[in-house]
């Protein structure tokens, strides 16, 4: 093992991976600066820097620290969360088209949020802390439902069946969401419809705080399990043959993926496709080994979402379209492209 790692080819590979990951990080920083400059109030890069270093007017401070910065931080966190969740799901199901939104998990999280808002209006303050928990509960219950519906005694969990059932369950939940959302009063309805379309809630550090603990626990957990993911993506028999407790590891990783996407849905609404695209791009850049793939994936996801969010704020000023719509309009054609190219 050691000889392999230090061989020239492996070293070359390693330095290439490090270059790619640093490049991604630099791109994120560039998008971060661009995003800080974009919005209804134009601020030059110099103004931004000045404000960051403690100068700047009260208004500039307010815009940067209270409005733009939390939103950008949330985009980065949500992008990384969805991307890693998608990467885990793709590795587990050995299906390149798996992701939280095709598997109906996002719909389940959204459903729980709508039920909650039907009883506790969005205008009260309490929902900020409870919403992520509700979304988590919805995501976990939906995932459990899909798991149960997919499982058959003869052939266990077929990945394709799981995706088909996920799509159907997602469609059903979407329909029931519509019934519930039509009963809301106009103010709550507006909130829910924009939220469902996938809008990153700006202007509030509390959302960052609500989301951060989940990511701080689950992202390192996923990285820690990257070897297990490598094995599982070879197939159940191979992994079992190598002494892996397949069923237990799968449930653990599945739970991590579901909780990650549930927490992200809670602050970002129905943003789909990040969990699909990011792992694909990352795999092209660094290959299939999860030790490198997962961190690359998190960076690509963060980059995608921060870019989409900047476009969403910039493209139709002063009107603002939800980020989820931008991601879907870019992401769906890419999904179709992957589908047309895929073999099995």
């Amino acid at each position: 093992m050691n000889r392999l790692l230090t061989s020239p080819a492996a070293q070359q590979r390693r330095s290439r991976d490090i270059t790619i990951i640093s490049l991604l990080a630099i791109l994120i920083i560039i998008m971060f600066v661009v995003s800080m400059n974009t919005g209804l109030m134009r601020l030059s890069p110099l103004d931004v820097l000045h404000t960051f270093l403690g100068g700047g007017t009260e208004q500039q401070k307010l815009i940067l620290f209270d409005f733009r910065l939390p939103r950008i931080v949330i985009s980065i966190l949500v992008g990384a969360g969805f991307a890693v969740s998608g990467c885990i799901l793709q590795g587990l199901s050995r299906n390149a088209l798996a992701e939280p939104s095709t598997l109906g998990i996002n719909a389940g999280a959204g459903f729980a949020v709508i039920i909650f808002i039907s009883f506790v209006p969005a205008t009260t303050g309490a929902h900020i802390y409870v919403l992520p928990l509700m979304a988590l509960a919805g995501a976990v219950l939906t995932a459990a439902l899909i798991y149960v519906l997919t499982y058959r005694r003869e052939d266990g969990l077929s990945p394709t069946r799981m995706i088909l059932i996920g799509i159907a369950v997602g469609a059903g939940i979407y329909a029931i969401q519509l019934i519930l959302s039509l009963r809301l009063d106009p103010q709550n309805f507006q909130f829910v419809s924009i939220w469902l379309a996938g809008k990153i809630w700006g202007g509030d550090w509390r959302f960052v705080l609500a989301l951060l603990p989940w990511l701080v626990i689950l992202l390192p957990f996923a990285f820690y399990k990257s070897r297990v993911l490598n094995l599982l993506s070879l197939g159940d028999q191979t992994s079992a043959g190598l002494g892996l407790p397949v069923e237990r590891e799968r449930i653990l990783l599945l739970a991590a993926a579901v909780i990650l996407s549930g927490a992200c849905v809670a602050v970002s609404g129905g943003i789909g496709f990040v969990g699909l695209i990011a792992p694909h791009l990352a795999r092209r850049l660094v290959g299939p080994k999860h030790q490198v793939l997962l961190p690359a994936c998190a960076l690509v996801g963060a980059l995608l979402l921060i870019t989409a969010d900047t476009i969403a704020r910039w493209i139709l000023q002063p009107a603002e379209i939800p980020t989820g719509i931008v991601v879907a309009i870019i992401g769906a054609p890419y999904f179709l492209y992957l589908l047309a190219r895929s073999k099995a």
Partner: protein
């Protein structure tokens, strides 16, 4: 005919899930009983609602119309068009689903799941936003365009790859195209502040149907259904596989092209009237095939009748469940449709 019966038997050996043969007697019974049930359903649909009206009054409003009576007005201008629109739309969605399932040999095909409804919806949202004064004829034509664009995307992408149009691939392409077009509709709705209008319509509702719509859409639907019946024999052959159909001398491309046009017109007309209702085109053809067998000359008319019945009775239920509020019928049918889909996806063996 002898040749095709022979190959039917062969195909049943290959695909054990299919019932053995066509059952014209069962089909005739379904058509007769179905039409009787439909008359009853239409009458019930006209009498049920926010203002309960006796069946006798319904009879009078139809045959001894008195324009001074408010109840007669309600029946003539609201209830009857609503009931008829429900029946027409049900037939459209069910036949569109049956044709798609037959032509693609895909048991999960449905205009809702394959993105056609979403295409028509996006076209409709754009029409609401950019040309709100359009007449219903133009709205319907735009919906045709939207449904056509979506079907080109889904079928084009589904068939681009080497392994061709597998059910999984088609369903995934449909889900992605739906998501894309839904995002377009949502974006338009939010930008033009039409959210709640469009949402009500997206949830699927027959309440707004009127005589003008019926007059405009009926000839299109009738034409499409007649062409569908003319195609039905070819669809039966296609459902045995393209090679079989081609081997029997059929021009499969022409049949498929015409079939898709028919599906686009049926789905577009349905969506322009009542919004995107999914799962009807999935459920009804399966039940029909189970009852009448494999011959699309029987499957198509029986699907039309059963689809009409489903929507007419679901619309009645939608008005009763949470009266005086209406439950969106699209959601109601999804509640039935999802378990059915799950059942189909579980039943099939490894090939899905």
């Amino acid at each position: 005919m002898a040749a095709s019966t022979h190959s039917t038997d062969q195909s049943t050996k290959m695909d054990g899930a299919m019932p053995l043969k066509s059952r014209p007697a069962a089909a005739a019974i379904i058509l007769l009983l179905g039409l009787a049930a439909m008359l009853f359903g239409l009458a019930l649909s006209v009498s049920v609602g926010a203002a309960d009206i006796k069946l006798a009054t319904v009879w009078e409003a139809v045959f001894r119309f008195n324009p001074d009576l408010q109840q007669h007005q309600i029946i003539r201008e609201l209830r009857i068009p609503r009931a008829l629109a429900g029946a027409l739309v049900g037939a459209c969605l069910a036949v569109a689903g049956a044709i798609m399932q037959g032509m693609t040999r895909n048991p999960l095909a449905d205009s809702g799941l394959l993105g056609l409804n979403a295409g028509a919806s996006a076209a409709l949202a754009l029409t609401f936003a950019l040309a709100p004064a359009s007449s219903f004829l133009y709205i319907m034509l735009y919906c045709f365009t939207g449904a056509a664009a979506a079907s080109i995307l889904v079928f084009g992408i589904g068939s681009l790859s080497h392994s061709g149009l597998t059910p999984l691939r088609l369903t995934l392409a449909g889900a992605a195209v739906s998501a894309l077009l839904l995002a377009v509709s949502q974006g338009v709705a939010i930008l033009f502040h039409l959210s709640q209008d469009i949402a009500f319509w997206m949830a699927g509702g027959i309440g707004g149907a009127n005589w003008t719509q019926l007059r405009i859409m009926t000839p299109w639907i009738a034409g499409a259904l007649i062409i569908a019946m003319m195609l039905s024999r070819s669809i039966t052959l296609l459902s045995l596989g393209r090679d079989v159909a081609a081997g029997l001398g059929q021009r499969t491309r022409l049949v498929q092209f015409t079939g898709i046009i028919v599906v686009v017109i049926l789905a577009g007309a349905a969506v322009s009237t009542v919004g995107p209702i999914a799962f009807v085109g999935l459920i009804i053809p399966h039940i029909t095939r189970y009852l009448v067998g494999v011959d699309y000359r029987w499957i198509l008319p029986c699907s039309a009748v059963l689809g009409s019945l489903l929507i007419v009775f679901a619309d009645i239920a939608a008005r009763l469940i949470n009266a005086p509020y209406e439950t969106p019928i699209g959601a109601l049918i999804a509640v039935i449709g999802v378990p059915f889909f799950v059942y189909l996806a579980r039943k099939r063996k490894g090939e899905l």
